[in-house]
Amino acid sequence: MSPVEPPVTSPTDLAAAYAALADPVSAAGRARPIAGGTDLMVALTGELGAPPATVVDLWRLDSLRGITLDGDVLVLGALTTYTDIRRSTTCGEHLPALVQAAMTIGAAQIQNRGTLGGNIANASPAGDTLPVLLAADASFILGSVRGEREVPAEAFWTGYRQTALAPDELVLRIRIPLRSGREMRFRKVGTRRAQSISKVVLGLAWRDHGEMPDTTGPPGAWRDVRLALGSVAATPIRARATEAVLEGRFPTPETADLAATTLADELHPIDDVRSTAEYRRLVAARIVHRLIREAGGW
């Protein structure tokens, strides 16, 4: 089982990377980018389908690294690794849920190589950062020979392992608007703590009315509720019916019960090797119930 060794180029600037990716499709197929390689290198075994015919190595594109604040937007380069996220005080301060997600991915060896852009582009429904990005209203800056464009996370995963990316397009940066009074929670359920693919993964975000300078109303009521889940559908999804139930409510026992039953009705996961549909639905509902209880302090 010797892995294939397709030709590779290692451009050091974006223009060269774009050009390599835009090269007309050869008989063997179009070039695929490699970032940390933690998904792509496994594809070289050929066990998961046809391996890429040629590869464009992104690792030397230093302009795609770094975690910065652009006003009230947190900006992460696509090549940001999970280790970078874990070490970033900026992320820790402004988006701790993303740090928590990064901590659950693989183990040290995977976190040292695996990138946020790779998680996004790989488009697995079990990608652990994806519910956080959805719940945080993230958007992605994509780039190609045709220039740059911005696509909201909501519109990015278009089907099972399908994305809005054109074949020659790269994820360049991830932009996450920071909102006053926003709380966010992350939970992942797998078979063990490290190195496991999620059975259910979710991100829940809300804003406490009392801490929003731009509104009036009783403190403690939830606004701008986002509930995003992975491993329960063909793509990461938002649970809109449950969000609607939570919007404007207080985190009371009644709210928790209502949200849990709404979510259990709303989800239509599948049985697969990792879990059953029934388990996923029950666990997701129970996690949300518990998060509301914790927030309500009862």
Binding site: M1, A107, Q109
Partner: protein, 161 residues
């Protein structure tokens, strides 16, 4: 074929290979350093763990083009070379600790465990068993039950196992 310049266990090494060749194969096949093991070939087991610029990585998931100009440490680089021909090599304290606690049985996971443990110690990791378990969470062992490996790393980190 492209020429890649690596530093392996402190010595420069030049290889002329396809850029997508796995660092694991470059080490084992091209440089004849067979201490680094292949277990799964897909990032699950950690048997192929080496240090790339000080950080533990699975050598089965790193194409050599990404290791160009990199500083690589493998299990062969842990022990100091023997002072004179025939004399025993001076083991790294972590290797010695594995012998003390019985941290190796069949040995297939041992090179990767040693490298993951070495990275943890080099980063200033302490004897806390939970922290050690997190540091070796990407390394599977089917023999020891992990306890003796954790104790070996803790021993070097300065605590009583």
């Amino acid at each position: 074929m492209t020429t890649y310049h690596l530093t392996v266990n402190g010595a420069p090494a030049e290889v002329d290979v396809p850029g997508m060749r796995r660092l694991l194969d470059v080490l084992r096949e091209d440089l004849a350093l067979t201490g680094t093991k292949e277990g799964c070939g897909e990032g699950e087991c950690g048997a192929c763990t080496v240090l790339l610029d000080g950080a533990p990585v699975d050598a089965c998931l790193v194409p050599v083009c990404q290791a160009d100009r990199g500083d690589i440490r493998t299990v062969e680089g842990l022990a100091a070379p023997a002072s004179s021909p025939g004399a025993p090599a001076a083991l790294d304290p972590l290797q010695a600790a594995f012998l003390v606690t019985g941290g190796a049985q069949c040995g297939i996971c041992t090179p990767g465990m040693l490298m993951a443990g070495r990275a943890y110690l080099d980063a200033g990791g302490g004897p806390d068993h939970d922290a050690i378990r997190e540091a070796i969470a990407g390394n599977l062992c089917r023999c020891t039950g992990y306890t003796k490996i954790v104790e070996a790393i803790a021993l070097v980190a300065g605590a009583h196992p």
